[in-house]
Amino acid sequence: MKKDTVETLGFNLFRLGSVLVVLILGFILFDIFYKGIGAISWEFLTAEPRMGMTEGGIFPAIVGTVYVTVITVLFAVPLGMFAAIYLNEYAPHGPLTRVIRLSIRNLSGVPSIVYGLFGVAIFVRTLHLGASVLSAGLTLGLLTLPWTITASEEALKTVPKSYRDGALALGATKWQAIRTNVLPYAVPGMLTGTILGLARAAGETAPILFTGAAFFLPFLPDSPFSQFMALPYHLYVLVTQHHDVGKVMPLAYGTALVLIALVVGLNLVAVIIRYHFRKKRG
C-alpha cells in the first residue's frame, strides 16, 4: 500500500471513532433532554416530593447535592492542592515519593462503592459523625482527592523550570518562588482539574448511599450533621426502588436532566476559568 493511502485510511478511522463517540453521547443527552424537559417546571425545582414521590418536586435533593458538594470542595480542594505542591516541589526524589504518587494514581481507579464503605467505617462509625452531610461530603472528598492531586501536579509541571530558577537566582526563598512565580500560573490548571473531579463526585451514588443520603426527607438539612436527599440517589430510588415505576418515570428523567445540567454547568465553569486565564497570560 502506498504511504498516503495508509495515512488517509488511518485518518478516517480516527475520524470515525470520534464521530461515533460524539453520536452516542449526543443520543444519550438528547434522550434525557427529550424525556425530561416535560417534567421541568418551577414547582419541580422548588417544591418537595409529595404523594409518595409521584408528585411535587426535587428541591431537597438539589439543596442536598449542593450542600454536600460544598463540603467536598472545602475538604478536598485545599488538601489536594497542598498535597500536590508538596509532592511536586518539596518531596525528595526517592522511592518513597514514587510509591506515594503511584498509590494516589491507583486510588483514582478504586470503585466508588469502596469509598462508600470506607466512609461508613471511618466517618460515620469511628469518628461518630453519623450518617450526615458531613460524612458524605468527606467521603466524596476522598473520592476526588486523587483527581485533584493528580490534576494539580500536572498543572504545576507545566510551569517552566526557568520561572522558578529566575526567581531563586534573584534571592527568592523556595516558597517565595513558588508563591509568586509558580502558583499564579498553575492555579487555573489546578482549578479546572479539580472542578472536573467535583463534577464526577456530584453525580456519585454509591459513596453517599450509606454515609448520609436519605430515601426521603420532608425537610432540608439544617446542619452538617443532618441527613439529606441528593440528586443521584433520588434518581436511583425513583428508577429502581419505587413501587410505581411507570408513574414516576417522567420525574426520574426530569431529575436526571437537572443532575446533568449541574454537572455540565460545573464543567462549563472549568472551561471558562481556563479560557479566562489563558487569555490573561497571553
Partner: protein, 253 residues
C-alpha cells in the same frame, strides 16, 4: 593572594549523576574585574557559573566536591544561607527567562521579594536598571505590558536589568549578548565596563573579540577543565599552550 580574590575555588569537581562535568577547578576571581570564560560548547562554562551561586542545587541528581569561597567564606558551608548567596551573586541566564509578568514587574521582582514596597523607590530603581541595560528607550512607554511580547534581544536586556536592579556584589553573565545587534552589544559592553567599578563580573562568551574587549582576565575551559587562565592580553597575544592558541585563532579541531 587568596586574600585579595573575591571568589576562589579549591579542587572543585561537579557531577551530573555519574558523569563528571567539572574536574579539579582552581581559580581566583578578582574584585572590580571582568573575568571571561571561553571554550567550546559543552565544556562546562555554564555549569561552573552555576556553582558560584549554588544554582546547580536546583538540578536533581547533581553533586559537588571541593570548595567555593566568596569573601573568604565557603558558600557551601552548612551554616550559609543560600538565599543570601544568591542575593549577593546575581545571574543572567544563558537562555533569557523573562517572567510572564509586566516589564515593570519583571525588573521589580527581586526588589519586591526583598521586601521593598515604596512605589516611588521601586519606580526609580526600575528606571535606572532599564537605562543601564540599554533598553529604557524601547520600553519606557509600555512598562505595564507583558514582557513576553518583547523581542529576543529585548528580553535578554530585560533579564540583565532584572539582575542589576537588586545590586548584587557579583554578576554572573552567561552569554549576555548572544541575541543582540552590534549597537545593543556595544552598549552592554560599555555597561560591563562601568559596572566593574562596583561589581565583580564573570562573563561567558563565544565571541573572542568580545572577551578581548571587555575582560581583564580570561580562562579557557576545555572538557570540564581550566586549561589556561591569565591576563586577557596575554591569553590573546601569547598564550602558553597550543590548545588555547588553536581555540582563539579558530583552528580548533
Amino acid at each position: 593572594m587568596a586574600e585579595e580574590a573575591k571568589i576562589w575555588t579549591e579542587g572543585l569537581n561537579f557531577f551530573y549523576g555519574a558523569s563528571q562535568a567539572l574536574h579539579d577547578i582552581n581559580i581566583k576571581i578578582s574584585p572590580h574585574n571582568v573575568t571571561a570564560f571561553i571554550g567550546p560548547s559543552g565544556c562546562g562554562k555554564s555549569t561552573f557559573l552555576r556553582c558560584l551561586n549554588r544554582m546547580n542545587e536546583t538540578i536533581v541528581g547533581t553533586r559537588i566536591e571541593g570548595k567555593v569561597f566568596i569573601d573568604g567564606h565557603d558558600i557551601y558551608d552548612r551554616s550559609v544561607d543560600v538565599v543570601d548567596i544568591r542575593r549577593r551573586v546575581g545571574m543572567v541566564f544563558q537562555k533569557s527567562n523573562p517572567f510572564p509578568k509586566s516589564i515593570f514587574d519583571n525588573v521589580a521582582y527581586g526588589l519586591r521579594i526583598g521586601g521593598l514596597k515604596d512605589k516611588d523607590k521601586l519606580a526609580e530603581i526600575v528606571e535606572k536598571a532599564l537605562i543601564d541595560a540599554a533598553i529604557w528607550d524601547e520600553v519606557k512607554d509600555r512598562l505595564q505590558e507583558s514582557a513576553m511580547g518583547l523581542s529576543g534581544g529585548q528580553q535578554q536586556r530585560l533579564c540583565i536589568a532584572r539582575a542589576l536592579a537588586v545590586e548584587p556584589e557579583v554578576l554572573l553573565m552567561d552569554e549576555p549578548a548572544s541575541a543582540l545587534d552590534p549597537i545593543a552589544t556595544q552598549r552592554i559592553e560599555e555597561l560591563i565596563h562601568q559596572l566593574k567599578e562596583k561589581y565583580t563580573i564573570v562573563i561567558v562568551t563565544h565571541n573572542m573579540q568580545q572577551a578581548a574587549r571587555v575582560s581583564d582576565i580570561t580562562a579557557f575551559f576545555y572538557l570540564g577543565r581550566i586549561i589556561e587562565v591569565d591576563d586577557t592580553e596575554t591569553i590573546f597575544t601569547r598564550p602558553k599552550l597550543k590548545q588555547t592558541e588553536d581555540y582563539i585563532t579558530g583552528r580548533f579541531g
